[in-house]
Amino acid sequence: MSTAVLAARLREAIGAERVLTDRAQLRTYECDGLANFRVTPGVVVLAESREHVVDAVRLCAEAGVPFVARGSGTGLSGGALPVSDGVVIVLSRLRSLGPVDADNLRVVVEPGVINLWVTRDAAPHDLAYAPDPSSQQVCSIGGNVAENAGGAHCLKYGFTVNHVMGAEVVLPDGSVVHLGGTAPEHPGYDLLGAFIGSEGTLGIATSLTLRLVRVPETVQTMLVGFTSVEDAAATVSDVIAAGILPAAIEMMDALAIEAAEAAVRCGYPAGAVAVLVIELDGPQVEVAAQFAEVEGIALAQHAFEIRIAQDAAERALMWKGRKSAFAAVGRISPAYFVQDGVIPRTRLPEVLAEITRMSDAVGLRVANVFHAGDGNLHPLVLFDDAVEGQAHDAEELAGSILELCISSGGSITGEHGVGMEKRLKMAKQFTPSDLDTMQLVRCAFDPDGIANPGKVFPTPRLCGERPGPKTGVHAVQAAGLGEVF
């Protein structure tokens, strides 16, 4: 079916004003937060209700046209990159929120709701929504669910998957299922757990039941300056070894500090080669005692300055430097790649030393910003796109850092997702059997492969055949169009 025919059917079903086909308008949706991949979609649907999503998906399924769900478009791995001539279903207008069910610690939201709005609405009940990605002022809950978003505080509180209790999902054939709910568990497979973090490849959530947490009695935040990255890393290890589970431990190196200072004047300690932002929360007595213990550990590891936030404003300033670090790097470099990898926390010093060696060898600067408590690195590879070949070198370096994460026992992504960017790296972290097994789930949800195809997995697959010993060659495989699955 031609795009024009599908667009006409979409207009008829959900209203002409919600269906975009004008080329200039389509280009607004050609990329997400990873701007170096761009594809112009065939049609954009601005859904305003569950029924619109159901109709759009059903019509795509009937036409055999792929669709890509999109929230705020802040993703950093190209997960919302359109498929050429495919349909983008925009969910930003599905913004119903609440009411907060304070006694059950739950709230039901639509996918276009902005992350921070949930905590804003929960605050009068002394409740909060724990996952707090740095983009929380603009990113949507639907996108958070697709990527299983983390944030600075997931060291203690866990990720999106630990805080989403239920979902209404439009499957790629247009049918609607309800996974999970308000209760903590339900008979049957945990399809909700499989759905969260599936990057839009299993369907589109149109409603989500979120778990809220009680705002802790007290929060204490400190900013610690070190003259070496090793001392900062050793402090992280010692805090964890002392049996303390901070709400967050974030690290920034000298280059990241320089960028943050240039951008937001956060007043981090002058001369610091590394800083840690350490936050503890919980009962007053416990936080006070453990906070003192953390100070002692930092001093023993040669911290040269420890600053303790005296009020919410000072705490916000400490966090501002950290949360604006990605964008801030734009102040000190014409261009940069944001990377996202994970290593076992204990490997931090050696991996950082190796990144420095690799960066020196290529002659490109790498700023390091990371969730040190859970070993989630965000190396920012700086380059000048006006210099011939630098973008390529930077991309290679970023890729090599990911392979270092894998060989250190870690992962190619801790919170940004695989998306378009890292799908080829999946084959380095997982065996063909591992990937085939994941595809079994894909084939159960989306046998025709129309939900966000081309993302997450390195190779396109057909769902027609079962895995196991193969006999003969499938026609599609012979034609070089895909691997039989």
Partner: protein
């Protein structure tokens, strides 16, 4: 379920498990895996040709204390793992009531205990898994770092699947430090129903108990046990605050007898109910008077022991708790009773069948054991 015709095999490596499943695949034989055999009565399949005894997979592969991560094979008993972790002041924060359970069984049955309130359940702690599929394929998911969003999180899918998608052979876990001190507040309740509002009050307070357990008889009395596990100063301050919040209660340094245990015997119909957490009062009221219950009062999980004669009223109970997103799963049915172990699943059952069809198209893994006859 196990008959004279059942072949029991006890592989000692992942490769051997794979060989067993490949052979079963070739010969069209049905397979069930079991570890400590503590939950074999939970919705047992009618019969199986091959029982894989996983207790030969007994290696603790890795414990990196600095990373708070451990890898252990499926046949390792939870108690053995905890013993080893304790030497580093750590533990796997799961405390299911079934004594002698193995890690594979805990994952497959999604078993948990009172500390689910603070630490969650298997889905919150399992960060990596290796499974052997019906055709012998060995597949991994997750990894050995806590934060990891690469690929589908199949650990979630295998958790609670009761062996119907594959045989879990190795597990990787997020660990927690053992708290240095404990303080327990026990409040006796003349009327068990009073536990509901108290549990909501605790959940909405700044207290951070690791468990809040109700032991009660419906229509009668009960006791609420609030457990604080943290540093010394904190547990004392919090226990004092809890007594104020609850309007009473006595403080103990140790857990009371029967803490975390399920009520009932093999003669009883034992149910596991799950529901919206603030509906505890309504769920208690929906149970017949005189039912012995243990509940994780702030979490929405409750175990009930009913006389065998109440099996006929199971559907009515399920209907009564449905408004609270409630479900009732049978953990133990007296011999000879035939009933629906799982109850209604909702509109996702067809999708579950499609998942099963992809993983085990010949339906040879724990056939008939799961929801909807899966």
């Amino acid at each position: 379920m196990l008959t004279d015709a059942t072949t029991v095999v006890r592989p000692t490596s992942v490769d051997e498990v794979s060989q067993v499943l490949r052979a079963a695949h070739r010969d069209g034989r049905t397979v069930l895996a079991a570890g400590g055999r503590t939950k074999l009565d939970w919705a047992p399949p009618a019969s199986v040709d091959v029982l894989i005894d996983t207790t030969g997979l007994d290696r603790i592969v890795e414990h990196t204390a600095g990373d708070l991560v451990a890898i252990a094979e499926a046949g390792v008993r939870l108690t053995s793992l905890q013993d080893q972790l304790a030497s580093a002041g750590q533990w796997l924060a799961l405390d299911p009531p079934e004594q002698g359970a193995t890690l594979g069984g805990i994952v497959s049955a999604n078993a948990s205990g009172p500390r689910r309130l603070r630490f969650g359940t298997v889905r919150d702690l399992l960060i990596g898994v290796t499974v052997v599929l019906a055709d012998g394929t060995v597949a991994h998911a997750g990894g050995k770092v806590v934060k990891n969003v690469a690929g589908y999180d199949l650990g979630k899918l295998y958790t609670g699947a009761h062996g119907t998608l594959g045989v879990v052979v190795s597990t990787t876990w997020r660990l927690h430090p053992v708290a240095p001190a404990r303080r327990v507040v026990v409040l006796d309740l003349p009327d068990a129903l009073a536990a509901g509002p108290l549990a909501v009050a605790i959940a909405r307070s700044t207290l951070t108990p690791t468990a809040v357990e109700l032991h009660a008889t419906t229509g009668g009395n009960g006791s609420l046990v609030v457990v604080f596990e943290a540093i010394e100063a904190s547990v004392h301050a919090q226990a004092d605050a809890a007594v104020t919040l609850l309007g009473g209660g006595r403080q103990l340094d140790e857990l009371p007898a029967l803490f975390g245990e399920r009520p009932g015997s093999t003669e009883d119909l034992i149910l596991r109910l799950a529901f919206a957490p603030a509906s505890l009062t309504a769920v208690l009221a929906a149970l017949p008077d005189g039912t012995e219950v243990t509940a994780s009062a702030c979490t929405g999980v409750l175990y009930a022991a009913l006389p065998a004669s109440s099996a006929a009223a199971l559907d009515a109970l399920r209907a009564a708790i449905a408004p609270y997103d409630g479900s009732a799963v049978v953990l133990n049915a007296p011999a000879g009773l035939s009933l629906d172990h799982w109850g209604p699943v909702g509109d996702s059952l067809e999708l579950m069948r499609r998942v099963k069809d992809r993983f085990d198209p010949e339906r040879r893994l724990a056939p008939g054991r799961f929801v909807g006859g899966i």
